[in-house]
């Protein structure tokens, strides 16, 4: 059996190796009849071909386009989890943060089941309710990785990363921007933002939410801000009777079985992140209590603006009115005085 030449050239490299001859197998060359050119002055042997291939090398600063450089190893589970969290944070407007204190697997299953039932029963005006419900989920997160993901989302601006010069396969220099979440730029950005004793700016969302990120956490995510669905979720996960009553015992007996109840007792709503703003328990309840969703809010705003307009006109009118009233009263007083003076004069003269 002829020895196979090991040709470890990937398919993508064909432009770079196009100058080498097509016959890469030594046996193939040996079997070929001597061509007239080969028979003449320069005989080209297979060994020459081998030498050419082994001398083939990629540019020193060549970066495969499918594997951009990263600050941390990209193929570990943690890194991929980090990417999952950053994309989750960027795409999800409504996140509720829970602390879970040692729930067992069956308790998690029961809590998720009740949550799904409650969300499925929400009747809201939107047509994409079923899709929204199918994408709502309650998941346990790795707290530290979630913390890093929050930092990246807050402090790393991918549009501001300067391009890097690397070589393409053919050797020419090209400008490439490496601004992904595992990149060195992202790593540097969060490092400089949270470095040292310098406190984070008060208004940054990360500074507000970072005290929450301790201990075992779970998040409930909704792909859209829908107060109706949020209210349903709150009434299951964190019921507070007047506004978010727990599901009725007759309709939802599953909610009251021992496993589900013990699971719910161990879940503790500690905060939320809605539209990139941080809310505490009361804030989350306030959002859940908005009637009619965003349209309801808009109606409220329109009404407020209208009534404010009315108030403004009356206020503006009021100032001039009061001025007119004062002047008028002053005039009447002066007139009276004049008249009084005249009468007094008359009395004196008489």
């Amino acid at each position: 059996m002829p020895q196979r030449l090991r040709c470890a050239v990937p398919r993508g490299l064909s432009p770079a190796v196009s100058n080498t001859s097509r016959t890469t197998s030594r046996s193939a060359v040996l079997l070929l009849p001597p061509t007239p050119r080969a028979a003449s002055t320069t005989r080209q042997y297979a060994t020459a071909t081998v030498a050419k291939i082994s001398s083939f090398s990629l540019p020193v600063d060549y970066v495969p386009p499918t594997k951009p450089p990263t600050a941390r190893p990209s193929d570990t589970r943690k890194s991929q989890l980090l990417r999952t969290y950053t994309s989750l944070l960027r795409s999800t407007p409504l996140i509720l943060i829970f602390q879970h204190n040692n729930l067992t697997a069956v308790e998690w299953a029961a809590v998720r089941r009740e949550l799904r039932i409650a969300l499925g029963n929400v009747s809201s005006a939107g047509t994409d309710t079923t899709e929204l419900v199918s994408r709502a989920q309650l998941q346990v997160i790795r707290t530290r990785i979630f913390d890093v993901a929050l930092k990246i989302v807050e402090f790393h601006d991918p549009s501001k990363v300067a391009p890097t010069t690397v070589s393409a396969l053919t050797g020419e220099k090209v400008q490439v921007v490496y601004n992904h979440d595992l990149s060195k730029a992202a790593f540097q950005a969060i490092k400089t933002a949270t470095q040292g004793d310098k406190p984070l700016p008060e208004e940054s969302a990360y500074a507000q939410i970072s005290p929450l990120l301790a201990g075992p956490l779970a998040i409930f995510t909704l792909p859209a801000v829908s107060p109706a669905h949020l209210a349903a979720a709150l009434s299951v996960l964190c019921p507070s009777p007047p506004t978010f009553p727990p599901p009725s015992r007759k309709k939802f007996p599953g909610y009251y079985d021992a496993v589900a109840q013990s699971g719910l007792q161990k879940l503790m709503l500690i905060g939320g992140r809605i539209e990139d703003k941080v809310f505490d328990l009361e804030g989350v309840k306030w959002v859940g209590g908005i009637e009619g969703g965003l349209d309801g809010l808009r109606a409220q705003l329109v009404h407020m603006l209208q009534s404010a307009g009315l108030g403004l006109t009356s206020t503006l009118e009021g100032a001039s009115k009061s001025l007119w009233l004062t002047m008028e009263s002053r005039r009447s007083v002066l007139e009276e005085e004049q008249n009084g003076g005249k009468t007094a004069d008359k009395e004196e003269s008489s």
Binding site: Q99, P211, G215, A258, D280
Partner: protein, 98 residues
Amino acid sequence: MITRFITDVTTRFNPFSVRARPARLFLSFLPPTARSSGMNITTQLLPRTSTEPSTLYIKFKDGKEMNLDCETMGIKSIVEEVDRHSRMLQKEADLAEA
């Protein structure tokens, strides 16, 4: 942490304060069967703006009460403190059994 001898846990904290961490971690150390085995766990969350200190109140089976100050103690010292009494109770229980 020995939790067998704890009957009551009452915490009160503002999760947005850094000093709430010991109280929250203490809650996460309680076993999954804590409530079903007769421990009363009450948690009160304070609003975000409150500056009240976070508190942790623990009552043991022998009636000893502990008011742990989360402002100065970390979770390690809290566990140490609780375990010190629990170990004593454990010793008594073992002697009674034997």
